[in-house]
């Protein structure tokens, strides 16, 4: 059932009602039609009678036989009407008999009058007969009207009663339908509830039977109410039901069992959950596992706390991996630090003995050049050059190691100001090279000011240094925004670099050109790369031999300048 049968029922009753009303109307129509026919017959009978009476009157006045003939005709017509009336008025037959008798009487009187036109008594009788007939016709008529009205009244009453019965029946049916519908709804709701319960049951069963996590419900005494199969197995139980009524104290050792109990009691008191707590689980055989646990208050339908429920996941392996990773990271950090320290100490401490070597070879050269043989002069020359070169290398290496060891925190820095200061520092070199240096207005960046200056200085120095003989360097420093970063570019018209060296040039002590052509240690760009790296930016190069070089590097925009 449902909504559909109700519609069917309504349609059924509507059809029944319509049929009833139609039948009633038909009956009324038929009745009134009958009445109309009878009325017309009466009218015609009346008219005929009147004409007959007139004939009698005229005849009596003139004794013209034509009136007698006319009367005969009318009388015949009248009888025809009477027969109609008789057919339709079974109840008024007595009156009709009287009328008929009077009519026959009148017929006889007419016949008599034809023979004795001067008979006054007969004339009077004829007259009376005509009048009686007329009166009786009137009576017949009113009787017929009464009958009609009575019939009409009966019909109305009948219709009313019928309508009432229909209304009552419909109301009863309506109420039955409503009751049925209600009952139906109740049973449907019950069925739905049962279905929902079934779904709940299998959802819960699936969860508890198959989840790899440890799921459990506990009462206010921290006793297990239900728990997942995996947790039961974790406890060494075959059947999860075996754990019901027990507590953590039955399975774990202190301090974990005590800590878990305290946590649960805290949740019951405060209503505050414990989320993602990393727990060390102590087992009776002394081994330890780790779990990530979330515990939440368990509430009944009224919202009252009736226990706790929790989900914990075994993270022993993950924890071990994480611990191992942390140890590795720590080792790596230490090793990195040691390496940096080593680079610093090595470059710093090596300077000291090297200074001696360098100073005294120079002293030798100063004092004894030309006083020994030419081989000695040459040897001393090599020693002096080697020592000087090594000093430069150590110095640059020290500089390189300082990028991290002497780093200052990154702060909002005006690149324009830093660049201007860099130009001041390089003023002599710029003038010597007759260089033309232009630049875009430079923005504020997130940088270590000293290192930003070092970055500009190294790139500009390179642009000044790697120049075609006799050509004045033209250098442009540009900048463009890209998301949260600025991309700086340092473009020159120098000798350029072949693409195969693009990555090599940023490595420490890597040189593309010979010492003789362009002296240097090969640390400058390595320092640039390390500085940019420390600023979490990128540095790269675009170049073609003979067509100049453009170095690009990206730096973060200063805080508050990011659109």
């Amino acid at each position: 059932m449902g909504i559909r049968p109700k519609v069917h029922l309504c349609v059924f009753f509507a059809i029944i009602s319509a049929l009833c009303i139609a039948l009633s109307l038909g009956w009324i129509l038929q009745f009134s039609n009958q009445q109309m026919l009878r009325g017309r017959a009466q009218d015609e009978a009346n008219t005929t009678l009147f004409q007959m009476a007139t004939c009698v009157h005229d005849y009596l006045g003139s004794h013209d036989p034509k009136y007698a003939t006319l009367w005969e005709q009318k009388n015949a017509l009248f009888f025809k009407h009477i027969s109609v009336l008789k057919k339709n008025f079974p109840g008024d037959e007595d009156l009709l008999v009287v009328i008929r008798q009077d009519s026959i009487k009148a017929k006889l009187l007419f016949a008599h009058m034809k023979d004795f036109p001067g008979d006054a008594k007969a004339a009077a009788d004829l007259h009376n007969a005509a009048r009686t007939i007329t009166a009786n016709i009137s009576m017949l008529r009113s009787a017929s009207d009464r009958v009609f009205l009575k019939s009409l009244g009966d019909a109305c009453l009948l219709i009313l009663a019928f309508v009432l019965v229909i209304v009552c029946v419909m109301e009863i049916l309506r109420r039955m339908t409503v009751t049925l519908h209600h009952l139906e709804q109740q049973s449907s709701a019950r069925r739905q509830a049962e279905e929902a319960l079934t779904v709940e049951r299998y959802l819960m069963n699936n969860l508890l039977e198959h989840t790899p996590d440890h799921v459990y419900f506990k009462n206010t005494k921290s006793q297990f109410i239900r728990l997942s199969r995996t947790l039961a197995e974790h406890f060494g139980l075959k059947n999860p039901a075996d754990a019901e009524g027990k507590t953590d104290f039955d399975f774990f050792e202190m301090p974990h069992s005590g800590q878990a109990f305290d946590d649960e009691q805290g949740i019951i008191t405060s209503g505050e959950p414990v989320i993602d707590k990393e727990e060390r689980e102590d087992w009776p055989d002394g081994h330890v596992t780790w779990a990530s646990t979330t515990k939440v208050p368990l509430r009944n339908d009224l919202g009252n706390i009736v226990g706790t429920f929790g989900i914990s996941r075994d993270v022993t392996d993950k924890k071990a991996a994480l611990d191992a990773l942390q140890v590795t990271m720590r080792k790596l950090e230490i090793s990195n630090k040691e390496l940096e320290n080593f680079a610093y100490i090595a470059s710093h401490d090596l300077q000291e003995p090297l200074r001696m070597v360098s100073s005294f070879t120079q002293m030798l050269k100063k004092r004894y050049a030309g006083k020994l043989d030419s081989d000695a002069d040459e040897y001393i020359g090599f020693a002096v050059d080697g020592a000087k070169r090594m000093q430069r290398l150590l110095n640059d290496l020290l500089e390189y190691s300082r990028v991290t060891s002497k780093a200052r925190p990154l702060a909002a820095t005006d690149a324009e100001r830093v660049f201007t200061e860099t130009l001041d520092n390089l003023q002599l070199a710029i003038e010597d090279a007759h260089a033309v240096i232009t630049h875009d207005p430079l923005p504020r960046v997130l940088a270590d000011e000293v290192q930003l200056m070092q970055l500009f200085q190294n790139l500009l120095s390179n642009a000044l240094k790697f120049q075609v003989d006799g050509v004045a360097p033209i250098i442009h420093v540009g900048v463009r925004a890209e998301g949260a970063r600025w991309i700086f570019s340092v473009r020159d018209n120098g000798i350029g670099i072949a693409e195969e060296y693009f990555s090599q040039i940023f490595l420490i002590f890597q040189r593309v050109r010979t010492q003789k052509e362009y002296p240097g240690t090969g640390v400058g760009l390595a320092i640039c790369s390390k500085i940019v790296e420390r600023h979490e930016g990128k540095i790269w190069v675009e170049s073609e031999p003979g067509k100049g070089t453009t170095f690009y590097f990206s730096l973060k925009k200063a805080p508050g300048e990011i659109e």
Binding site: H348, L354, Q362, K388
Partner: protein, 151 residues
């Protein structure tokens, strides 16, 4: 020229453990315009003994200038400086820190202990000689020292 220096040579105490540096300093001062006596202390303790004329240093001259290295055995340069500047009789002697350290920490610590100046040893020989000569010229030709410190 200071008349005092015309009368007697300048006494310089070099506190330095590196014989190479001692030699370089000697070389640099050998052709100095001002006549000078360079005394050497190889470590901090020896330096303090010299200044206080203790033991084998009895009767030595009071230095007009101390060239002090920081990295020293036994007692380091910073301790020597501290002791000198806390000693009423020694605190007026100018102390020039001459060291390889360029660490910010050492520089500020030295000045906080009232070092008179701090010089990082240049790596290059010519530069080194130039620095020593500049020290000599500055402290003995340009600067006026309190007469009370002299004997």
């Amino acid at each position: 020229m200071n008349s005092v220096f015309d009368a007697r040579p300048i006494e310089i105490l070099l506190v330095e453990d590196n014989p190479g540096d001692v030699r370089l300093t000697q070389e640099a001062l050998s052709d100095a315009k001002v006549r000078n006596n360079l005394h050497i202390a190889g470590n901090g303790e020896e330096a303090m003994d010299f200044l206080r004329r203790k033991g084998k240093f009895e009767g030595v001259a009071r230095p007009d200038l101390v060239l002090l290295d920081l990295n020293l055995p036994k007692k380091n340069g910073m301790e020597v400086l501290d002791e000198m500047k806390h000693d009423e009789t020694l605190r007026t002697i100018p102390v020039v820190i001459l060291t390889t350290s360029e660490a910010e920490r050492d520089i500020s610590k030295a000045y906080n202990s009232h070092a008179n100046c701090y010089i990082a040893k240049p790596l290059d020989l010519d530069q080194f000689v130039k620095v020593i000569k500049t020290i000599e010229a500055f402290w003995f030709s340009i600067v006026k020292l309190p007469q009370g410190t002299k004997e």
